[in-house]
Symmetry: C2
Subunit: 296 residues, 2 copies
């Protein structure tokens, strides 16, 4: 694998996969996506799935990132401990064969704050390589398990995972609030009210208001927004407080980044800043290209 040829970039997560054929310059030539996540793929089926992706997108070198490299995926690509540079990640690629590799995750091994990521490191490498974030920066990557990442001299220096997305889904699927939480969270007055209420310092002590308002016959107009605002508000307050109030760069899905940007603006008392939003899939592809560029 060298940077002088076309390649396939695959983001293979728990519940879906996306793949792109890229030319040597990093432009997308073709793409494929489906709901076949690693949990839907038997351990002995990965080889055939890789062959399928090459039949679909071209017989080309391939780098895969995300949960495909976890102990529940195809083969475990051991974590690279932070501080981790793009070059460190490239050195840590697990080569299945001469032209098929799995990008490693990154770990934080401090005894009292252990943490792990898989997939986000590639997006971060892409944002750095594209010049979209500075070498020293605070990043936030919203998602089921959101990551807050400190970059120092272009390396992942440390990070914290927030289970905000998973918690919101749990509340909507299984809690006493489920009837009120049907529907998506969107920026708006309900979301803003939740972000404001999270500033009272006890977001978890406000969620039951959603149920109480219904029991009292005055249901909230936008309960999903309020709940999301409480949880994301608590997250962005704590994430920024650890960095003296610095606003993070946001990397991820557009709708989630828009919610986070709205929360950050509200906590900082500013208008929503749309200049720090970086599209997650584009960052991932740029990260795969950057890793290939680091290969000897």
């Amino acid at each position: 694998v060298t940077g002088a040829e076309a390649f396939i970039a695959v983001d293979w997560g728990t519940s879906n996969r996306r793949a792109w054929r890229m030319d040597a310059g990093g432009a997308v030539e073709d793409s494929f996506a489906d709901g076949c996540g690693i949990l839907d793929t038997p351990a002995d089926a990965f080889g055939a799935e890789i062959a399928f992706l090459r039949e679909t997108l071209g017989d080309l070198p391939m780098l895969l990132g995300g949960m495909v490299g976890s102990n529940r995926g195809w083969r475990e690509a051991p974590y690279v401990p932070c501080p981790a540079s793009t070059a460190d990640l490239a050195k840590g690629i697990l080569w299945i064969d001469r032209r098929t590799g799995i990008v490693p995750g990154v770990s934080q091994d401090h005894g009292d704050a252990p943490d792990v990521m898989r997939g986000e490191e590639t997006q971060i490498a892409g944002a750095l390589a594209s010049g979209l974030v500075p070498q020293d920066a605070l990043l936030c990557l919203p998602g089921t398990h959101a990551k807050w990442v400190r970059l120092e001299e272009g390396r992942i220096a440390g990070f914290t995972t927030w289970m905000t997305g998973e918690l919101f889904a749990l509340l909507g699927d299984h809690s006493i609030l489920a009837p009120q939480l049907a529907g998506e969270a969107r920026p708006g007055p309900g979301f803003a009210a939740g972000v404001t209420a999270s500033g009272e310092g006890d977001a978890l002590g406000h969620l039951f208001r959603i149920r109480a308002a219904s029991a009292l016959g005055a249901p909230m107009a936008d309960a999903p927004g309020y709940a999301s605002g409480l949880l994301i508000g608590a997250e962005v307050r704590a994430g920024m407080a650890q960095m003296q109030g610095e606003a993070p760069w946001l990397i991820g899905r557009h709708d989630l980044c828009a919610l986070y940007a709205a929360a950050i603006g509200r906590v900082r008392g500013e208008d929503t800043d749309t200049t720090r939003l970086i599209e997650g899939d584009a960052a991932f592809r740029a990260g795969i290209a950057a890793l290939i560029g680091e290969l000897p």
Copy 2:
């Protein structure tokens, strides 16, 4: 119904019911409990269930409290708005017939902090009538939906519900942490570490450490304790901060109250105070007796 005769007290919740035959002096003569909660009881079956309880415990006047008075229970006993005294609760009893009544819940109707309770108001009335708590006090009633209650001049002046217990159950039953959270939370070093970590101001940003420690091959020795300590720690810090750090009286199940007492002691930098623990069932029975004492 008068205070001069024996009676039956029934605490009928969502997933179980407890009933006691009490003599006119408030002493327990007999009891019954099973897993037949209101959600297991068809709407047209409550009459027969009441007859069954009287066959089992005696043909006596009966007062029922808890979710049996909700819109998912037998008949809805409208909430009494706070501030609410024991006399206010007695006036709000919904009489099904001459000698069968349902105790109302209490509501907080502030537009921006709506809240409701059902069952706890009876325990509070009992703790007051027994002289176990002062007329002006901060109370905490741990449970699936924990209540923090301000008493002023013997009345429920205001309160906040925390979904801590339900959230802990959701994480153990449905989250990515489920494999690590099998087992009960108990006071100990893991719980203490969670309470301490909750002081960093972002309890929800620490839960993923449980998963990360496992992924890194060094699983926590007591993950249920750590998770419980994080959540209860965040709750007691916020609950006490609203009252200038005052320690609450605890009313509820012994095991839960012990966890809360351990968290409160740790947050206050003191030994665990076991002098403020009030057994929940005894408080409930005393509350039913106090309500009967208020009847004309």
